[in-house]
């Protein structure tokens, strides 16, 4: 019993991490139709900026409010980078989707290499509040607090994204803009602004995932974002491209599946199962869980 609870809660923590990474990806992919391979870079930027801030930014530190400040700085850095990327690299290429993807591929290579050039290839210990290293006893299971933190953060991000899509017109504008950008402008809407905004939000979500990923892993390294990206992609696709809620379901499915198979099955089967889940879902239901494209 204790094991099941432990596996479930830690699996949910893992799912939360996947969702945090996937949410921004899903938003940008579902709305702006850009398969953003540079998402991993945004993650790295968020993580490194948080790491840097807690050591160098006055007031920021590894604990309490200082930690919040450091994370806020990391998120701001993620937003900044994402906005710059959109303005400078993505915008001039609109309607050339494949080229946009390539630019993000190039960016992920160059950006990660740049992080490595600046801070070295080795993992660095990540400053984090002391309590995140501890466990909470829940029904006899020692559940790591970092996982619980991730679960809470994921829930907040999910709610915030849903609110954004539901209560603002931007979701609509961008979905329409992906279909036919020209026509959106012909309705008197500055579609470019909306796209920049989506990138900014995607960047913020990624940076937050990067910072919390740092808490979770205890370290930050240049390649960290990239290695999470593959599962995030799987989550986005299983969830139905671009559906934020779908991504949440898919993240839970993937996290729990991996966790339980890894415990009860032979080693390595967890990954295979996830990949198999992806293939099966797509073959039976090519549009993914949510089935409806780019909705809340």
């Amino acid at each position: 019993m204790g094991t099941v609870i432990l596996l479930t809660l830690t699996g949910l923590g893992l799912a939360a991490l996947y969702f945090l990474v996937a949410s921004g990806l899903s938003l940008v992919f579902g709305l702006a139709d850009v398969l953003n391979f540079a998402h991993g870079l945004f993650l790295g930027v968020g993580a490194y900026a948080t790491w840097w801030a807690s050591g160098n930014l006055p007031g920021a530190g590894p604990d309490g409010l200082g930690f919040l400040l450091a994370v806020a700085f990391g998120v701001a850095a993620g937003v900044l980078v994402a906005v710059l990327v959109e303005l400078v690299l993505i915008r001039p290429l609109y309607s050339r989707t494949i080229e946009q993807v390539l630019v993000t591929v190039g960016l992920s290579l160059a950006g990660v290499a740049l992080l490595q050039a600046t801070w070295g290839a080795d993992a660095r210990p990540f400053p984090r509040p002391h309590w995140t290293r501890q466990v909470t006893g829940i029904l006899g299971a020692n559940v790591p607090n970092a996982g619980l933190l991730l679960i809470v953060a994921a829930a907040v991000v999910l709610a915030a994204l849903l609110a954004f899509l539901r209560w603002t017109r931007y979701g609509l504008v961008i979905r329409a803009g992906v279909e036919n950008r020209e026509m959106v402008t012909a309705l008197g809407i500055d579609v470019r602004k909306a796209f920049t905004l989506v990138f900014a939000i995607g960047g913020a979500a990624a940076a937050l995932a990067g910072a919390l990923g740092g808490v979770y892993f205890g370290t930050v390294s240049p390649g960290q974002g990239g290695s999470l990206l593959i599962f995030a992609f799987i989550v986005v696709v299983i969830g139905g491209m671009g559906s934020v809620v779908g991504s949440a379901y898919a993240a839970v499915a993937v996290g729990l599946l991996q966790q339980f198979v890894n415990y009860y099955g032979p080693s390595g089967l967890g990954d295979v199962c996830v990949v198999a889940l992806l293939a099966v879902v797509l073959l039976l239901r090519p549009q993914g869980f949510a089935g409806k494209v780019a909705t809340a």
């Binding site: 139709d33 989707t97 494949i98 160059a110 950006g111 593959i230 198999a276």
Partner: protein, 374 residues
């Protein structure tokens, strides 16, 4: 809406289906042969191209590098059969290449088969694998297809990494046992033969892709890229044609694997990574999808940069720069990534599009432009 990601291969009329109308019309068909002949005699040249290659053209190091480039030129051209010419975005093409590499290696090293048998078996096996997996994956379209192919490739990567029965060597890879190989393929002095092998492979792929694109089937593939539903209404089964393209491309990739295995002298899990497929995509787009020479050039250039940038990064020129420049520049991936980004901007439509891009320029130079009011 998400379909647009897949429709994206920029519209290029297959060269083969448009009549050439240039002044060189009469000569053009022979240019590839001339290029092939030139490439074939390169190893007899001792010309040194400082900065471009480490040694003279006939040095083993240069030939090895060229051989790797040529194989990838061919691999990219084969991949373009899917992507540029049929509009299918596969994220799992690395699998068939890896099947070629590991197939050859395992059959030679572990099973002790003679090379020609191993090669034949591997190419057949790779083709059959592509046909089987393609038959399943092609039940989906668009992004879903891309992801299913990615999933298959990922399973391949996991299997290789798991090292079942010690067959693949896991993350350490499997060096090729050369004792049973023809002597002409072993040893540094024989690098030239590997070069010729790679050149032959590239020539075959280019010929096959060219032939197929210009064939009635190629016409259907070009149509599929634009409008699959319409192909069905015209009385052709889209599924069959896509499967043919997928299988053919898979077979060509497996063959590339055989050659690559010989050139590198072994297999390592790098070849199973999804990054490799992504690189293929980059090569094709860098060169110009759906064009005859674009993907080849893209593949060659990509591999060249990939190999040479490591040397560039550690060169004295870079070291002499101020630190804020030299540190990123000594990261090969930084330079590679930057080169892509710049390439996407400055050669839209790929290297092959360069010619058309320059046309307005040449025209402008010839006829003075009428001043416009704006």
């Amino acid at each position: 809406m998400t379909g647009s990601m897949v429709e994206a291969p920029p519209a290029h009329v297959p060269d083969e289906l448009t009549p050439g109308r240039s002044r060189w019309h009469g000569l053009r068909p022979y240019l590839p042969l001339v290029a092939l002949a030139v490439a074939a005699v390169v190893p007899y040249s001792t010309v040194a191209l400082p900065g471009i290659f480490e040694g003279p053209l006939n040095s083993p190091g240069t030939l090895q590098l060229l051989a790797v480039c040529l194989v990838f030129g061919g691999l990219a051209a084969g991949y373009d059969l899917l992507f540029g010419r049929t509009g299918m975005l596969s994220f799992g093409h690395a699998l068939y290449f890896a099947a070629g590499v590991y197939g050859t290696d395992i059959l030679v090293t572990r099973a002790g088969l003679p090379l020609w048998q191993a090669a034949l078996l591997t190419i057949t096996g790779g083709t059959v694998l592509a046909a089987l997996l393609g038959a399943v994956a092609l039940r989906t379209v668009g992004i879903a297809f891309a992801m299913v192919t990615l999933a298959f490739a990922q399973v391949g990567a996991i299997l290789v990494a798991r090292d079942f029965g010690g067959l693949t060597g896991g993350e350490e890879g499997l060096p090729l046992d050369v004792s049973g190989l023809p002597a002409a393929l072993v040893g540094v002095t024989n690098t030239v033969n590997l070069y010729w092998l790679a050149l032959a492979y590239l020539a075959v792929v280019v010929f096959v892709v060219h032939r197929v694109s210009g064939s009635p089937t190629g016409r259907v593939l070009a149509g599929l890229r634009d409008d699959e539903r319409r192909i069905g209404v015209l009385g052709l089964d889209p599924y069959r044609f896509k499967l043919v393209a997928f299988t053919l491309a898979g077979g060509l990739a497996a063959a590339a694997g055989v050659v690559y295995c010989l050139i590198v002298g072994g297999a390592s899990p790098h070849v199973t990574s999804s990054e490799l497929t992504l690189s293929l995509l980059v090569m094709v787009v860098l060169g110009g999808p759906g064009t005859r020479w674009g993907p080849v050039l893209g593949g060659i250039l990509y591999m060249y940069l990939d190999h040479r940038l490591t040397a560039f990064g550690s060169s004295d020129t870079v070291d002499a720069l101020p630190e804020f420049l030299s540190r990123p520049l000594s990261q090969p991936l930084f330079v590679l990534g930057t080169v892509f980004i710049l390439a996407v901007y400055f050669f839209p439509g790929g290297l092959a599009g360069l010619k058309t891009r320059l046309t307005p320029l040449t025209r402008a130079l010839r006829t003075p432009r009428r001043p416009s009011k704006r």
